[in-house]
């Protein structure tokens, strides 16, 4: 067993964990933050996407022990109050159906807009490569991300 200290959404979690414990299971079962989902177990679907020291990663491909001293943002930490503009854009543009891929999609979109505030349709499609949605055919997700980019440009929102 290893004692690890992880900061998730600004809150510190200190726990004894088995070395084989996946980070996604630490987040879901130890920190009880269930907005991060498991969809494929092999890093292909992106439902477990989180921000790890500011980088976008898949928490099913990471061990909890690797997160010792890391700063993590999950979907629950995106907006302290109300909704982040990207979350609101997903609502406005019907960017989801079953909602299972949505937390990963939204974190991916936020990460994209941070580095590329006005992405083209092709750049958005490219950026979503690692996130699968089985419901929407992606079109409304892309509409939502473009809408969010536009709104954030107008309001001068600084992401994350």
């Amino acid at each position: 067993m290893h004692r690890i200290k992880v900061t998730i959404n600004g809150k510190e979690y200190e726990q004894e964990v088995e070395p084989r414990l996946l980070l996604v299971h630490f987040i879901r079962e130890k920190a009880r933050l269930t907005g991060t989902h498991v969809g494929c177990d092999t890093g292909n679907c992106g439902a477990c996407t989180i921000l790890f020291n500011g980088k976008l990663i898949k928490s099913c491909l990471t061990l909890a022990v690797q997160a010792n001293h890391a700063q993590i943002t999950t979907i629950e930490g995106l907006a302290a109050n109300g909704l982040h503009p990207v979350q609101d854009a997903f609502l406005e543009k019907f960017g989801l159906q079953c909602g299972y891929c949505t937390p990963g999609m939204i974190l991916n979109a936020c990460y994209l807009l941070q580095s590329n505030p006005q992405p083209s349709e092709a750049e958005i499609r490219e950026a979503l490569e690692g996130n699968l949605c089985m419901c929407t055919g992606y079109q409304h997700i892309i509409d939502a991300i473009r809408y969010a980019a536009e709104r954030m440009k107008q309001s001068g929102t600084v992401q994350l």
Partner: protein, 801 residues
């Protein structure tokens, strides 16, 4: 269809793209999927067969049971001893199968034992300590292997691997052949794929010792049937089993038969004194949870030289794998679209359900109809080419005409409404069809291969559930219905519970739109509980989210219950205001007299009368404001081989697709994708658009990427999303949508099916486009998927995909 002036008191919400009220919790990561429920559970892992076909000689669980952290183990023989076999629905041959394999395993991944441990990691460890002695048997994988006279048998008691073989004839098919100038004949093959919801199957079971009863939480798509099946299989009365369905991360049919695992979990829960949870892994899901069958379809179209189709003859072999519960339905349901959009007067269809050592099959989005429209629309293009007709023209010559509506097909299917020629005209216009053809000619000069594909399809909804008894002749289920409870609470707000579930379709929003306009309140004042609870929700044996039935019978039940509650509120208001009900109007949560505006009473005050000041209610009126209603589609016929309807609403669409094929690499790139569809009236057009596009992408995944590949020993080679490839955002087209609105006369809102349609029309549209692109090479498309490897090989060698 109802008179909307009578039905609605406002027209503020129905027909508008109202924001989904479900979405706030989902975008915040506050969904309540099964695995999110805060319960202290022991965890289940399942040992699965490593052979496709083998006798199980011995299972020794002693080492696993003794492992620290393991709470209980159950094996196939133990389960078989405590349960009844799985009840078949459509097959006519005897075939005995239990929810867990006991004497014999029939596919790689079939459950043979299960472990409960303190956590999932320990449970998985314990699986390694279970010793199984197998006696491998030869595997039956392909349809032709299963049909051989000396083929090993999946079910000895059936004495054949063909579990259903039935031929149904309607109209004068002999005459169609006699009068034909030519017969188009082709053999098609469609592979195995699935819609793979992003959330795998998930369930929790708890046993209460005192009452010897069970509660199960599961992401079940058809809880009505699950309650019946679990109780029947466990041989317990219905009142000992409670099923709760919270949020579900997608379904598409693939969660319609998860109940066998509930049986296993109930047995485990009874062994340990705490709730037990099983979360399916993606590998488990791809192995056996579940597939659409691969199939071979031999199609013949006797026709005249002018392109008029006189008849349709089909022989349909479905490789249904090894799940007796749903085997056989893929052939039968094809009758919902057997003649497509066309005036075909005579049909003969032979349907065979073949048992093999592939994984289980259940209803995947569209269920057999994607294949039916694929073979029919492919055959239309083959015929057009042979007759020198434009693909659009041959379709125009055969369409059922709008003045023929409602149109009854030879087997008895009723197409309620629609204008198929206009739908094609619109799609051609929207896609700039003539321009595309010019562009195609220009690009050919540059050595680039653009292809244009058209597909016209019927998109049926609301299953008439007797259909799969057509061959068995013993209806246990007939028709289709749903239930709803509508109440007004103390604050004068409405609340709704339905007997069905949601798997991402936005039912709560759509229901709130309808109730709001019926009561004259805003959707914020209508709460809809999506969570099904079999103790409370008004479900039937049919209840669930499938066959696009929601905007027919689910909304029908909501409307009927809302009418009841509205009438009761009007009765109370008339008494309180000393007015006639006929003079009363509803507006903004108030009932007022049209003759005297000052006479008014709010919903809150009416609720106070109904719940608290009950002595002020009209004489003889029951207290309370909660009403239940069940609503059934009125068009369902009893199953009868001569005349039956498989589904009860029929939308239609045309897809026009342009693709460019790289003839060196076999890569297929979309250049245009137009969908014009007609699902009658739409309650929330943004939701309909989303499902139309999403469903089309399911079809595109099936055409281009996804395939369950088995080797000759029946081992599945595609067990992760690395090799079972799903469509991603890059590489998909920007879809252009056009709408038509032919109201359905037989549903209350004039709605028809929405949701499965794109998955039906897209296979043929893409395949037709690819064949068109490759016409300079003489390549014919008769099978799917259109993988780069097959495309290149066809161009260079075989000339057939």
């Amino acid at each position: 269809m109802m008179d909307f002036d009578q039905l609605f008191v406002t027209r503020n919400w129905v027909g508008k793209p109202v924001r989904r009220n479900e979405d706030v919790r989902f975008v915040k990561g506050e969904g309540r999927y099964v695995d999110d429920l805060a319960m202290d559970c022991a965890q289940v892992a399942i040992l699965r067969s490593i052979f496709a076909h083998a006798r199980v000689k011995r299972i020794d669980v002693s080492r696993a049971a003794a492992m620290k952290g393991v709470l209980a183990v159950v094996t196939g023989p133990e389960v078989a001893g405590q349960t009844k076999p799985i009840a078949p629905r459509a097959i006519t041959k005897p075939a005995t199968q239990f929810v867990m394999a006991s004497e014999k395993v029939r596919y790689v991944g079939e459950p043979i034992a299960a472990v409960v441990a303190e956590d999932r990691y320990l449970a998985e460890d314990a699986l390694d300590l279970i010793d199984v002695d197998y006696e491998p048997l030869p595997a039956v994988v392909r349809i032709e292997d299963a049909l051989r006279a000396d083929a090993p048998l999946l079910f000895d008691e059936a004495a054949s691997n063909v579990l259903l073989d039935d031929t149904l004839e309607h109209g004068d098919i002999k005459r169609a052949y006699q009068e034909a100038d030519l017969v188009i004949k082709e053999k098609f093959h469609v592979h195995r794929y699935s819609s793979t919801p992003l959330e795998n199957w998930a369930m929790i079971a708890r046993h209460d010792k005192a009452s010897d009863s069970f509660v199960v939480w599961a992401n079940d798509q058809q809880p009505g049937r699950s309650v019946v099946n679990v109780c029947n299989t466990l041989q317990i009365p219905t009142n000992r089993f409670r099923l709760i369905v919270p949020d579900s991360g997608g379904g598409f049919g693939i969660k319609l038969a998860i109940w066998p695992y509930m049986v296993i979990l109930c047995l485990l829960a009874k062994k340990v004194n705490k709730p037990v949870k099983w979360i399916q892994t993606r590998r488990e899901h791809l192995l056996g949870g579940t597939h659409a069958p691969d199939c071979q379809v031999e199609l013949e179209l006797p026709m005249k030289k002018d392109g008029t189709i006189l008849g349709l003859s089909m022989k349909d072999y479905e490789n249904d794998g090894s799940f007796v519960h749903t085997a056989g339905i893929y052939g039968l349901i094809k009758f919902a679209t057997l003649v497509g959009c066309y005036n075909i007067k005579a049909t003969r269809a032979q349907m065979l359900s073949i048992a093999t050592n592939k994984g289980p099959t259940v209803q995947n989005r569209g269920v057999g109809k994607p294949t039916m429209i694929f073979v029919l629309e492919r055959a239309m293009d083959i015929a057009a080419k042979q007759l020198g007709l434009d693909p659009a023209e041959i379709r125009f010559r055969n369409f059922v005409q709008p003045e023929q509506m409602p149109y009854t097909t030879p087997s008895g299917e009723i197409y309620e409404s629609g204008n198929y020629p206009e739908c094609l005209r619109k799609a051609l216009a929207l896609s700039h069809y003539e321009e595309l053809k010019k562009q195609q000619a220009e690009m050919r000069k540059q050595g680039r291969y653009l292809g244009i594909g058209i597909s016209a399809g019927i998109e049926p909804g609301t299953s008439n559930l007797g259909y799969y008894y057509t061959s068995r002749g013993i209806p246990e289920y007939t028709g289709n219905a749903e239930g709803a409870i509508v109440g007004i609470d103390y604050d004068g707000n409405a609340n709704v519970i339905v007997g069905s579930v949601d798997t991402g379709q936005g039912h709560a929003t759509t229901i709130a739109q309808v109730v709001s306009d019926m009561l004259g309140i805003s959707p914020e004042r209508v709460s809809v509980d999506n969570q099904l609870d079999s103790l409370i929700s008004p479900f039937l044996g049919h209840s669930g989210a499938y066959s696009n039935k929601f905007n027919d019978v689910d909304l029908g039940a909501v409307i009927r219950a809302t009418e009841k509650i509205r009438n009761k509120m009007l009765t109370i208001a008339a008494h309180a205001l000393q007015s006639d009900v006929a003079d009363l109007k509803l507006n903004n949560g108030t009932i007022y007299s049209a003759k005297d505006n000052s006479k008014k009473v709010s919903f809150r005050e009416i609720a106070a009368l109904a719940y608290k000041k009950i002595l002020y209610l009209p004489e003889g009126l029951e207290p309370g404001l909660k009403e239940i209603a069940y609503y059934k589609n009125p068009m369902a016929k009893l199953p009868n081989k001569e005349n039956f309807n498989v589904q009860l609403t029929h939308s239609n669409s045309v897809h026009v697709v342009a693709v460019e094929v790289d003839v060196e690499t076999g890569e297929i790139a979309f250049r245009k994708y137009v969908i014009v569809h007609d699902c009658g009236n739409q309650v929330n057009p943004a939701i309909v658009d989303g499902m139309t596009i999403g469903s089309t992408v399911h079809g595109i995944g099936g055409v281009l990427l996804e395939e369950f590949v088995y080797d000759e020993d029946g081992q599945l080679l595609t067990t992760t999303f690395m090799d079972y490839m799903k469509p991603v955002a890059a590489g998909l087209p920007q879809f252009e949508l056009g709408h038509m609105y032919s109201p359905c006369p037989y549903t209350l809102l004039g709605t028809k099916s929405a949701g499965e349609g794109g998955a039906i029309g897209s296979l043929a549209a893409v395949a037709n486009a690819v064949e068109d692109a490759l016409s300079p090479f003489g390549v014919k498309v008769t099978s799917l998927p259109l993988s780069p490897e097959k495309v290149v090989r066809a161009i260079r060698e075989t000339k057939v995909i």
